[in-house]
Subunit: 424 residues, 2 copies
């Protein structure tokens, strides 16, 4: 039933039927959550042996002879540098291993550039009064939170099926010296799940920004997080930037938050020698070193990159049916109605749904009243400002399949109801 | 033999005898290190059971029901808030539990105030061009490193036997609005080992700084780190500041780096509601939360504050003979010569020695040539500038007693040699 072709009376009948279903759901007193990209307990259980990978009787000495219990080892143990280099497709010497959060490393990176010049003849960004940052939309709310906190004007850039609209990016960065960077989740993007095409990566590597200190925040959070057997392949931005002589453009981030434990994983960044010099100058005063015992625990648990990949297969086995549930429900319940669009990601943690124009907030509200919590409407846009009020991020990972199925039924009813409220 | 009363020929004879000893030590090809306040392996061994306190079969749920493996728990688990509240003598609601490093939390605190105003009508410190920070000397080199990195002019304040010279502190902060804070290690101070007297703490609490956003960085790193059976007692700065209505003045820091594992402990800060609001506004964008599994590991290992105190008795048993060795050697070898002064701390990690005026660098150099590494001369002063070139920080914790004894023999010979070079 294509909602766009319904007569007034057909709308009335359909709405009444939906309202009946909706009231029925409300009566169930549910409490379901599809708000955040949190791994489910079964996923965390996969890493339970990690808790035994460094017992009191095991050696606490890393491969290079460091006592991981004591001070030292500023930039991380060599085992973890190797693992993260494999994940980020670079060399261990470009890697700095940090604490439990890549978000924290991204925040610190921006914080560093706020008060320290990247080049002798550029200003700390705090001193650039009209500082701006590019934000592909829809995107990751916590990225926008960081640049929002530091007072950047955030310029939305449309996301296409193969990445940010590079015509827009190229034009903006070549013209405006106060644009200091761009947020990217290049693989299984948050929330659309798309992966940047080779052409997009090449165009990023070939950027000629007006600002010498323009930086690409390349958050490769889902580098190895497939949910289908037809995974996407991302071109290496580091390799491409070497070809163009732009190796200082990108700074790469990743973590094991969605590999082992979200709250107790290990994070890392990779950067060119110049960027690393600026960052390490700060870090050398900021810490004596991050938690090396947790690094060692991870290295022992995985043994090598093959161990990481084998582990990710287990995550896939848990996540794949959840993504299928979401996509099947959307397809069954919303395709005919012609009021919504969504993506079919091969990995990552989200499905991005564009509901009927102008109804995202209403859908989230209706869902909430029926006990289904979604990410706030607009959260995927800087300052929560979704100009078309359309985008909703669905996070299928945390609930069980049955819960998810029910939550999606409710979501679809709410999406249809909200659309009809506008169409009537 | 009082060196100050020696005749030229007596000096010559004494110097020749010392040189003979010195060359003898050099010939031994030693490699001894008294440079940093690193716990010894035997101290780290005390916490080895911590590695088993959270096994794969144990509950990973904290007292308030949080799955410590997953995201969430922004300001730390309730168990650790309680432990740190006990250590810092405050209430759990004033505590924020962080990562593995209190230095990192101090750095982040200064970093926060660099770009964020503490009050609506005060400037971010980055915008205060002539910003200054008070640095009691001798003090902790890494403190000075933080404010040095952020471009503060660092003003040395003399340390007395009961804390910083408060006449100087009061005068400076009341006159100069660009003085934004002071570094304090109030108990078993780094490096002198003294504890601030009640009067000094009360005078800190009663400060009337010209800068509304002046802050006391109260690094209580050695709060429970006694090395004798006559421990010092520090007045609570939080209680005193409540009495004076100055509760926003201090921010307190501590960690388990010298309780459990230096590289993999847990750190915390305590702050007034206003300071906490400013800091949390930043932290909420900087992280989803720190490593809760490590917090849980610590909480399970100690059970309660009594467990922490019992554990510290074991550290004391290891450290006490080392401090005794250092102090005995200084007393036996240097007291009569009348060329040096030192402190007799009841706790902490250091013995501060003032060698003969103008000879600290030479002593460190002589020691190094004989295979004994000391903290660089001057390190205890901002910008490594010890105007009298006298102060040397001795860190007795890492070497074994035999090594330490030998290293101290060498140190004393070097101190005497360097003094005679000047006296002759």
């Amino acid at each position: 039933m294509n909602y766009l072709n319904l007569s007034a009376s057909e709308i009335k009948t359909e709405k009444e039927a939906l309202l009946k279903q909706y009231e029925n759901y409300k009566g169930m007193g549910l409490s379901l959550n599809m708000a955040r990209g949190k791994p489910a307990p079964e996923q965390l259980n996969l890493s339970q042996p990690l808790l035994d990978s460094l017992k009191s009787t095991d050696s606490y000495i890393s491969a290079d002879g460091t006592d991981c219990r004591n001070y030292g080892g500023f930039d991380g143990i060599i085992e973890c540098k190797g693992l993260f280099a494999d994940i980020l497709e670079t060399s261990p010497e470009n890697v700095f291993v940090g604490g439990n959060s890549s978000l924290n490393m991204m925040f610190d990176t921006i914080s560093c550039f706020m008060t320290a010049s990247i080049y002798e003849d550029t200003l700390p960004w705090h001193d650039v009064k009209e500082r701006k940052f590019l934000c592909p939309v829809p995107g990751y709310d916590r990225h926008f939170g960081v640049t929002g906190y530091f007072g950047f004007e955030m310029i939305p850039v449309p996301m296409k099926a193969d990445g940010p609209d590079m015509d827009v990016v190229e034009k903006l960065v070549s013209e405006d010296e106060s644009i200091k960077g761009i947020w990217c989740v290049p693989k299984y993007s948050n929330p659309t799940g798309i992966t940047y095409s080779d052409e997009v990566v090449k165009r990023f590597a070939a950027l000629k920004p007006a600002a010498k200190d323009f930086r690409i925040m390349w958050d490769n959070a889902y580098a190895i997080h497939d949910v289908t057997d037809t995974p996407d392949k991302l071109l290496s931005i580091i390799d491409e930037c070497k070809k163009t002589g732009n190796e200082d453009l990108p700074i790469l981030f990743c973590s094991t938050s969605k590999i082992t434990f979200s709250g107790a994983g290990v994070a890392a960044l990779a950067a060119s020698p110049l960027n690393m010099k600026v960052l390490k100058k700060r870090l050398t005063f900021a810490t004596i070193g991050y938690d090396k015992l947790n690094m060692l625990r991870h290295a022992r648990f995985f043994k090598n990159f093959d161990g990481v990949k084998a582990h990710m297969e287990k995550h896939k086995a848990i996540l794949a049916p959840k993504f299928k549930t979401v996509l099947d429900k959307l397809s069954t319940e919303l395709a005919d109605a012609n009021i919504a669009e969504w993506t079919n990601p091969n990995g990552g943690y989200f499905v991005s749904v564009n509901v009927y124009k102008g109804t995202a907030k209403r859908v989230v509200e209706l869902c909430k009243e029926a006990g289904v919590v979604l990410t706030g409407a607009g959260a995927t846009f800087p300052n929560c400002d979704d100009p078309e009020n359309r985008n909703i991020r669905i996070a299928p990972s945390f609930p069980g399949v049955d819960e998810l199925s029910l939550a999606m039924d409710i979501f679809c009813v709410c999406a249809k109801l909200a659309a009809l409220e506008v169409l009537e």
